[in-house]
Symmetry: C2
Subunit: 215 residues, 2 copies
DNA sequence: TGCCATTGTGGCAGATACTGTCATATTGAC
DNA sequence: GTCAATATGACAGTATCTGCCACAATGGCA
């Protein structure tokens, strides 16, 4: 295994260039396979009728491993919504502590829709697929709300620190976050709903409408 | 049918006056006992550390019976929030289909806070106890949001029918409901929060502040 | 008052979700 | 090439929740 080993090493380090090492890339791949399996099974049958064991088998991993990637079968179908956490984290530094509360928070949550403005993009197609499924599955909607709730608590803490004494009252901050979150969710829902019925739907326009209405 | 039969009939109907018969009253009593047991155990330990078996034992019923009353241990602590459904149902007829959407929906959801405006009332004390517990227990918060989500779907259907063609667009209706719901939840939370820290707190004033802020 | 349909309850078995732990294999750094 | 870190799988165990059945309590009706 002399030359073979060296070869393997070189390959490994080259791969670190984009994916942080083979290990991490393999992890992302497994994660994606679980998600694909879950979405397919959910679409074929239903969320309730699909077991974790089935998803794990379809993805080629053990049930135990499934739970190392996702906390529940619902979460397996919604990794898209975890990207939201990244979007929020990335946008936090841009929040102006002196700015108007509602405006700043809407600006922050508006980042969530950015990646999906082009209906034809793969990201948008994926999001549409999930949102469509969500419209039929109450348990998925509940899971999204659950994720949203957890995110809310973190965002509130982060924003409270950032706004400091300007908004020491938690009431308005919490409300601003919940409203911004509702605007985003309603926009995605309406977007998927309209495309489902064949209507043309522009996510940017829908989001703007929702935003205006919320004020 | 003799006089005896008539007498029994009358007695039965008299009981229906407050409790709809002994059966229903007994049911309410059992329900309350389960809730009390759950709240006590949750407060003593934590929601996660408390099992359904323990709650059932403390309430003097079998675990099987527990699940005939509540779908989960979290729900057992939150029957208060099911009163919301009754409040909404009662208020639906008063919604003006010609009125402004946001205004009407806020009017409807505002009914939820009505029973708790007097801080000293037993209902308010009970609500405070639950809300305080909720602030420490993420799983209870999640359960409340879950109940809220289910209620939302029903309310949306009812209001869509009531508003008819005036608001054929689901986006604004959904958003109005979600915002009104968030206003109520944030108000209760701030109310409990301020009383917890010893501050004076007027639920009516807080709700008004939240309402103004949301516009 | 007595009969009967309805309804509440408990016990049991079982499916499913999830977690801790250990042994094993793979990866990656030196 | 060796060793530490990490990923996986298998296993056992706990908790949630449901269907089913037998039994008891209730309430309508003759």
């Amino acid at each position: 295994m002399g030359a073979g080993t060296a070869e393997r090493r070189a390959k490994t380090e080259a791969e670190q260039g984009h994916g942080q090492g083979l290990r991490e890339r393999r992890r992302q791949q497994t994660r994606a396979e679980i998600t694909d399996a879950a979405l397919e099974l959910f679409a074929k049958g239903s969320v309730a009728a699909t077991t974790v064991d089935e998803i794990a088998a379809a993805a080629g991993v053990s049930p135990r491993t499934f739970f190392r990637y996702f906390a529940s079968k619902e979460d397996a179908a919604l990794p898209v919504h975890q990207d939201f956490n990244a979007a929020i984290a990335a946008g936090l530094p841009s929040v102006d502590p002196q700015g108007e509360l509602r405006r700043e928070v809407h600006g922050l949550y508006g980042l969530m829709v950015q990646p999906y403005l082009d209906n034809a993009s793969p990201a948008a197609q994926r999001m549409l697929q999930v949102t469509r499924l969500m419209r039929k599955e109450p348990s998925l909607r509940a899971a999204v709300v659950h994720q949203s709730l957890e995110r809310t608590e973190e965002v509130q803490a982060a924003l409270a620190a950032r706004f400091g004494a300007v908004h020491e009252d938690a009431l308005e901050l919490r409300l601003a976050i919940d409203i911004a979150s509702a605007v985003v969710r309603a926009s995605f829902d309406a977007w998927a709903s309209r495309l489902e019925t064949g209507e043309p739907a522009d996510l940017a326009a829908i989001y703007q409408q929702a935003l205006d209405f919320s004020k």
